[in-house]
């Protein structure tokens, strides 16, 4: 499978290290190009259809997997062992196998090749379970005002100067607001007894 991607593996890794605007630009470009790559689309759809799913399942899987790809790139899970399209397909395979297990679809059709991870690249991406993610979403939704924007820029590695430029405030104000927003989110997490237990359990 080959997709017309504007970034080479090395350029992708370089953008990840650069963070901020460079990372944001690379993510938007690469994910959009994969979204619109017919070879990728066809490969995933054939894979899903051959393993108990339909076209709609494949579409959902592609959307879910590509959003996961963005996060995996941001969190440096991708090490460049495989091409970005094969890595994205690896995420699709991994996620679809989970769906098959949940739906009780016979996994006889899954080959060893399907089970293999792509090189040494980690495709799972998160240290918390899907259930925890979904409960964490209820905390995220309580963060209001300008904070989501500050937090997202911070998580993408924008400097305080760049955050200030984007939010139209001074660098000093951006630093203060980011810090306050982060604290607000951590307080929400810590205040929730469910997470308090989890925090201790992780320790």
């Amino acid at each position: 499978m080959k997709c017309p991607i504007s970034y080479s593996k090395a350029e992708i890794l370089e953008a990840v290290e650069s963070k901020g605007a460079t990372l944001q630009k690379m993510l938007n470009t690469v994910i959009k190009e994969l979204c619109q790559c017919r070879a990728f689309d066809g490969t995933v759809k054939s894979f899903v259809r051959a393993r108990g799913g339909n076209t709609e399942d494949a579409e959902d899987l592609i959307q879910e997997s590509l959003s996961q790809l963005a996060i995996s790139l941001m969190t440096k899970k991708y090490k460049g062992d495989s091409s970005i399209e094969n890595y994205a397909f690896g995420i699709c395979k991994f996620k679809w196998m989970n769906v098959m297990t949940k739906r009780g679809i016979d996994t006889v059709g899954i080959t060893d090749d399907d089970k293999e991870k792509v090189g040494t690249d980690d495709i799972e991406g998160s240290f918390i379970s899907e259930e925890t993610k979904s409960s964490l979403w209820s905390v995220v939704s309580k963060v209001s005002g300008h904070c989501p924007q500050y937090l997202k820029l911070w998580a993408q590695g924008f400097s305080h100067r760049e955050i200030g430029e984007q939010m139209d405030v001074t660098e000093k104000r951006a630093r203060k607001n980011t810090s306050e927003c982060r604290k607000r989110l951590r307080d929400l997490i810590s205040a929730n007894p469910q997470y308090k237990n989890m925090i201790q359990a992780f320790a």
């Binding site: 979204c35 619109q36 590509l66 941001m74 005002g145 998580a155 939010m167 992780f202």
Partner: protein
């Protein structure tokens, strides 16, 4: 305490040297509070990543839809014409249809197609459709629940705007905020959005202009975002004159992300051939 947090961030960002890392992990093994703080930071990061992932899901949906539309139109354009097989033995005498009747049917079909296309284009490419597609929701929460001096009308307006989505009530309340009130600019900002949501785009544009005329805005307000929404209000109000073009062009060329990209996309859509067929 600052060093404590900075170290946790550096550890999670994998920015500590091997020596610093060993030292940090050694401290971590002995300090329960540090372990808990580290885990809170991990959850904090996961929470923000969820926000970013959600943003990507929305973008991906749009990109996939674009691709799907493009591939459909390409497939239709490239589809080979199938040869019509006619069984000569069973061929029945063709009914004679007069040329005028044929032309009438063709004209009716064209009218129907044109009408359908106009509706579709109107829904997607009209000024108000474009303005609605690109509209950025109001920021809230800056001084919410703040000082005791906040006027009752302001709180009424805020509750109507944020919680009840009752824009008529919100407008009535915010209009009562006097010009010398500390909440006046904020009230004008919410009025802009309330008018926008009520589709009174002329008033929305005026209110945004009023907010932008102030050099000092409340910290939670983003000037570029307000400029962007004002442009959309002008577009929806049909005020696409030279001033509008100038404002849009300014953001498309010198604006900050993400508005620069949005402005370029809007310019492309405004120049789309489909707009000529919309009403």
């Amino acid at each position: 305490m600052k060093d404590f947090f900075t170290q946790i961030d550096a550890y999670l960002d994998e920015e500590l040297s091997a020596e610093e890392r060993t030292e940090f992990e050694s401290a971590l093994a002995q300090d329960v509070q540090l372990q808990e703080e580290l885990n809170t930071h991990r959850l904090e990061r996961e929470a923000v990543l969820l926000m970013l992932q959600q943003d990507f899901k929305t973008k991906i949906k749009t990109w996939r839809a674009e691709e799907s539309q493009e591939s459909t139109s390409t497939t239709q354009a490239e589809a080979p014409k199938e040869a019509k097989v006619v069984d000569l033995q069973k061929k029945t005498p063709a009914k004679r249809v007069s040329l005028i009747r044929r032309l009438s049917i063709a004209a009716s079909l064209l009218l129907l197609i044109g009408f359908g296309a106009s509706i579709w284009n109107g829904q997607n490419y009209s000024n108000s459709a474009l303005a609605d597609n690109y509209y950025m929701l109001a920021d809230t929460g800056g001084d919410k629940g703040g000082t005791a001096s906040v006027e009752a009308d302001f709180q009424t307006g805020l509750t109507a705007f944020v919680n009840e989505k009752n824009y008529t009530r919100a407008i009535a309340a915010f209009e009562k905020i006097p010009t010398n009130s500390p909440q006046y600019i904020e009230a004008q900002y919410y009025l802009g959005h309330a008018f926008y949501q009520s589709k009174n785009y002329n008033e929305a544009a005026k209110k945004f202009e009023m907010v932008l005329s102030n050099d000092s805005l409340p910290a939670f307000l983003n000037r570029t975002k307000i400029e962007w929404n004002q442009i959309l209000a002008l577009l929806a109000a049909g005020q696409t004159d030279a001033t509008f073009e100038q404002k849009l062009n300014k953001i498309a060329t010198d604006g900050q992300a993400p508005f620069k990209q949005k402005a370029q996309e809007l310019q492309t859509e405004m120049n789309s051939i489909w707009r000529n067929f919309s009403f």
